[in-house]
């Protein structure tokens, strides 16, 4: 009557959860400030999601194989790219340009607003917008290649 793979949101849960556990667990770390906290959260989220995506890639056996498709979310037409590719593109960008890669990390993985990103990186929101624009164009192109 039911499909083989029931919807299971506990997994997404576990993700958020673990990220959270580790973050609040470091409460004694004396976050220098909120910006610092947000930056760590973004870094953490990136690692967890990319780790998970990578694990999923390794797990391609059996009918349940699931490529982590970002197609919907990224709206890259006719081309499935994954978080792992995005992560390595982002690493490549970091070598060229640490700041712009951090803008992407904070905005995309951390879900930070332009203003928050600006505060974390101590740059103006205008610069964040410009960085964001260029970084996205660059990443999009790289992912297409």
């Amino acid at each position: 009557m039911r499909g083989e793979r029931p919807r299971d949101s506990f997994q997404a849960t576990a993700l958020v959860h673990e990220a959270y556990l580790r973050l609040v667990g470091t409460q004694h770390v004396n976050w220098q400030n909120r910006a610092h906290f947000l930056a760590m959260a973004a870094r953490l989220m990136r690692r967890i999601l990319v780790d998970l995506a990578r694990a999923r890639q390794y797990q391609k056996r059996g009918g349940g194989a699931l490529r982590v498709s970002l197609t919907d979310a990224l709206s890259v037409p006719h081309k499935t790219e994954d978080l792992v590719a995005l992560d390595s593109a982002l690493c490549a960008l970091a070598e060229l340009d640490e700041r712009r890669s951090r803008v992407v990390e904070l905005r995309f993985f951390g879900g930070l607003s332009v203003e928050e990103t600006a505060a974390v990186l101590r740059i103006s929101p205008e610069t964040v917008m410009r960085d964001w624009k260029l970084a996205r164009a660059w990443l999009r192109r790289e992912l297409r290649r």
């Binding site: 919807r7 576990a14 673990e18 959270y20 556990l21 580790r22 609040v24 004694h28 909120r34 993985f109």
Partner: protein, 954 residues
Amino acid sequence: MTPERWQQVSRIYHDALARDSRERVSFLREVCRDDEALQQEVESLLAEPASAENFLGKPALAMSAGLVDDPAEPPLTGQRLGAYHILDLIGVGGMGEVYRARDTKLGRDVAVKVLPRLFSADRERLARFEREARLLASLNHPHIAAIYGFEETAGIHALVLELVDGPTLADRLQRGPLPITQAVRIARQIAEALEAAHERGIVHRDLKPQNIKVKPDGTVKVLDFGLAKAATAAANDSDVSPISTTSIDGTREGVILGTTSYMSPEQSRGRAVDKRTDIWAFGCVLYEMVTGRAAFAGETISDTIAAILGRDADLSKLPATTPPGVRRLLRRCLDKDPKRRLRDIGDAQPDLDDVGSIPATESRGRTTWWTPGWAVVLAIGVAIGGAGVWLTRLLPRREVQPSFSRALRLTTTPAHEFGPAISPDGKWVAYLSDARGPTDVWVKFIAGGEPANLTASIGLEIQVRSAIGGLEISPEGSSIAVQAREKGSRAPTFDTWLIPAPLGGTPRKFVETAGALRWSPDGTRIAYVRPGETRGDAIVVADADGGNPRDLVAARGGWHTHWPAWSADGRFVYFFQTIATWNGEPSEILRVPASGGEPQIVVHTTRRALFPLPNVNGGLFYAANPNGVDLDLWWLPSINKEPQRLTTGIGEYAEPRISSDGRRLVSTLIEYRRALVSMPVVFEESPRLRHLTDGFGGDLEPCISLSSGRMVLSSSRSGNRNLWTADENGTNLRPLTSDAAIDERPSFSPDARQVAFVSDRGGEHGIWVVKSDGAAPRRLASTPVLDALTWSPDGQLIAYAVPGGDAPRLSIVGVNDGAMHKLPTPNGGHSPSWSPRGDVIAYLEPRGPGRTYLKFVSSRGQVLYSRLPDGPALTNGFLAWAPDGKRLAAVGVPGSANASVWIVEPESSEPFRKLIEFSGEVRPRGITWSRDGSSLIFGRQEALSDLVVFERPE
């Protein structure tokens, strides 16, 4: 592309964007002149459509539901489930789908909540859930939505609930605040519901507007009472895990997580919760009803939590008409300290009644809150903080894989907690902590209560380095073994002492010069480590009384042999060996028959594989970092031998220990702060340290070039450990290498044109050389490298240390021909530092516990200087010549004392002068002189650790 080139590209890109599209072509042609590649690069970036606005437009987590969840399955609509005829899907939540259904027996409509299959596949968990549901079903109150029963048909498990029509309070609040009298009317009913539940000892744990329904007639029903706990926590656990649910709201751009907003501070800290958590949430709900905005909100989960922990609810946002009773009540409910918070929800009623003095002049307008097609919020049941980390749910299930359904943070102090051991019955944990200042043995019961200090007043000084073995609890649970020595003892070694457990008492010395003691499972034998520092440690097996000792594993020079662990059947002793480098890479896990024999490798890696922990039901836990910088817990099944990772994220999981029934596993979770720090070479009481980088980039191992003034360092700021260059003051950081391997311990050639470093590229440790612009990396030699690389002043040779038979040895490799030869030194040595002013190599020569010589030798092996310092312990240390070649910085990282930095002037009458001694878990990693010789720059590594308990339900 170089970063400079990239800067050029980005400048032109933005300039071009500022022009309209017709102008762009000519603009580009003009600025790029005939640099076609440049023009193409910019054009290809400009060609990326601006309409691709939604590329990366949603935060990663907003789509994580799609990432981890499987495609939706066909709903149950139209099916029959026992006596229930499923009508339509009315919601999807963390606990599963919710349907409206017809109870054909009783002729009424009900809500049916179908549990996810993953959940219902676990019989034990299901049984517990059912027990919990029955308890909740006994709650009978007009303002609590009733639980009718528990249905199981054809493998589907469902809760049958009272169907409450009407929008939720959350739906209503989307349209703004409520008039005061209405808010109070609702609050009063919520308070009544909470009071009834609290009287029966039931805590909601997840009170929020989404869980509160307001019927068209104004009656309030609180939903999902206690379900969060039922879904996750063990029913018999008194240290109940705090629970909240978090929604991933896919409908609003930019919003990752909605509803962590109602968590209490203690909940968000992962502490135990009680009814006062509900009182906090009640305050949040009341605040939101009155103001129309969440008391604590942020766009991200971390943001929200920062708000909950960090600031008070803004009471100035309350409308002027808010009655004083409500203000007072909000203040009392939203006190961050649960001890000062409103104690009893019953006490809220008088404050709510205080509203009577306010003229009730609100409009009698329609109160139809029902908005058809209300958004189905994909509520994901997150058991936040300390509760269920579904560790193994991230992995494919294997029959033998141990699954732990939740994690609990056992300690959360700012102190350093480590070296845990768990009692055989899994009820308490013994661990080391410096919470009092000096390191003590503490015991904490997992069920709750304050930790007890067992060694505060018994005259023992505890060995503070944990990685050798931590604590051990005897099989019958009556003693704790700890490595220690009598207070005031100057002995360079520590013995193993026994302390009565779990309450403490008079200690007795058990085995001399021994650590990491482990009893065999049947209690008849012991295994322990006889430490030998850089010369290598031995593993000894003896009878349970310490008699009849025999060496099971011989010492290996330059390797640490630590952490013996008996297999469950007592036939093998597992242990790990790590090369005595700064980061212990490479390392391996081995095992040896307890009756004697050749050790066999169990896990081999170019990085670290540590802390073997044979599972009681077969298989092996251990900590490793095959793909990263930090250790995670891994599981090696005994059947198919495919290792599986159990944890992810930032920080290192180390020192796992398990209870004898395999139900509880305790582990140390270490956070590292690694930063570059500068320190003037001035002898004063408290040296002025200055951080050049913050502790989060993982910066270590600095080396400043005397000719260029640039610094090269290793850093994990990109996520992997690579080499970076920077100015002498730590600014202007640029990546030098970016390989997926770990690149570390860099050293500038004297002319600053090349950098030598150690790397595990190609799965093998070796010495590599790269040009200082990052070009042409090449392998110079395949060899393990113990610690530092150091160049000869003419740039032709590099000296380093390798592990050897009974002691580490010095070696030299030619930079041009890669030819390696041993440097003849009588007793071996490590940590070479070549003087920039001549053929003098300083190194350390370990001769036994607490006895490390400082020696100078020429590259032909002629000994020029030899001294056993009586003050400093240079054990496990390293050296750096000052630019003038007359002084040295010497760092000692002994196992038995704090790390310290010394300035050595060989010709002086007082050759060793202490510059600084570090406290606790601070260790320097790599040291270099500023070009003018006035200060030292070093990598400062500090470990902060807590204990985490993973738990598998019965």
